[in-house]
């Protein structure tokens, strides 16, 4: 069986819709991972021990196991405890939580890198601990960790392909649908790889721009 790329145009709309979903899932999961990561970082650094410990166990478990396994846990686990979420929500939550743990590590180093004198100064000026954290420390920490978080988000785009395994119709699953009726796996998977590569290039360019702006604001 040779290669025949002429089958592609007929299925192009399915593939392009799949790309749109991949981008939306990536954005959604990125938002979850950013907010979740910040939340986890603040807990890891400032919460009392009995709150910190279960979160640390969660982070430990999520860093030491594969994303695909976590997606199975979240998708089937939520159903088991009676929360019947659509696959796409499970996918966004799973991807988001996975990367939240990695982002949290970055935020923690970012927060710790902010000079202690600044917290003291903020407290002296009459800000509460929470205010000092929210208005002085966190904004600076975010600025410092934007480049490595950008790397995580690019990794997230590529890992979003995994949610196809739990049945989310994004780019990878769209390709599988097209392959199901054409039996042309090579052509469609190469096409999909090219699309991921293009999105990847755009994300890298965006990351460079943001980095330059961050550098300038320093």
């Amino acid at each position: 069986m040779g290669l025949d790329f002429t089958v592609i145009p007929q299925y192009l709309d399915i593939i392009l819709w799949g790309s749109v979903w991949t981008i939306l899932i990536t954005l959604g999961a990125a938002a979850v991972s950013f907010i979740g990561g910040m939340f986890l970082a603040v807990i890891a650094l400032y919460a009392p021990l009995f709150v910190r410990l279960p979160f640390r166990a969660f982070a430990f478990l999520f860093m030491g196991t594969p994303l695909l396994l976590q997606l199975f846990l979240i998708y089937f686990g939520l159903v088991q405890v009676g929360i019947d979420v659509p696959a796409i929500m499970a996918g966004i939550i799973g991807l988001g939580l996975h990367f939240a743990v990695y982002n949290s590590e970055l935020f923690q180093t970012g927060i710790l890198a902010v000079d202690k004198g600044q917290i003291e100064a903020a407290r002296t000026l009459g800000l509460s601990r929470m205010q000092a954290l929210r208005k002085v420390v966190v904004p600076q920490a975010i600025r410092d960790v934007i480049p490595p978080i950008g790397n995580n988000m690019i990794a997230l785009l590529k890992d979003s392909a995994l949610v196809s395994v739990i049945g989310v119709s994004e780019l990878t699953l769209s390709a599988q649908r097209a392959i199901g009726s054409t039996y042309r796996p090579f052509e469609f998977y190469v096409l999909v790889a090219v699309i991921y590569y293009i999105i990847n290039i755009f994300m890298e360019a965006a990351q460079r721009r943001v980095e330059r702006r961050v550098q300038a604001s320093r």
């Binding site: 069986m1 040779g2 290669l3 478990l61 030491g64 196991t65 594969p66 994303l67 695909l68 396994l69 976590q70 199975f72 846990l73 089937f76 686990g77 088991q80 590529k158 890992d159 979003s160 392909a161 995994l162 196809s164 395994v165 990878t172 392959i179 042309r184 796996p185 090579f186 052509e187 998977y189 190469v190 999909v192 790889a193 991921y196 590569y197 990847n200 290039i201």
Partner: protein, 215 residues
Amino acid sequence: MDFELMQKVFPFFLEAAWITVLLSVLTTILGLILGAVGASARLSRFALVRFLGAAYVSVFRGTPALIQLFILYFGGPQIGIQLDAFQAGVIGLGINAGAYMTETIRGAIIAIDKGQIEAARTVGLSRFQTMRYVVLPQAMRLMIRPLGVNINAMIKATALVAAISVVELTYTAQRFIGSTYKPFEMFLIAGVLYMIIIYITGQAVSWLDRKARIS
């Protein structure tokens, strides 16, 4: 928590864990070889070879490993590559890991002070000898830890071969979740086994790193 069930399925998970270990070892070996070749290409004197090295890294780091695996396993037969799922898993993941390791190895080599290379060349060593006796021994020490990070990520990436039905840990967990509806229990068993594999690998890397620092 259904401990009785966990005990009953545990032997299946243990067997699957060996497949995960085997996959990880073979993929690491292939990744290191390709990483060394890739790094040499990226540092080559010839522009075309440098370009090929850069293209390898860019393409394989810029697309999902899952898709690379699918192209090889499902698309391979169309271009005359017939592999069983395990072989496709090792080769696919190995090529992917190689791209990441290329950057790690290259990073360690270019971190060696240029003055040392110039000095070695001045005292009459050839380019090859400079690499062999001056740069590599030092770069080796620098690359152990970051390569450990690559290997850690790669062990977790072996879960992807579950999608092409290799019976390793994640595939086994998926099967048992499907048949028992006990996702937490199955996740816990597979998760602990993964963490043991990763912990032992991490210890081995630290040991190598310490040994390299003493010498």
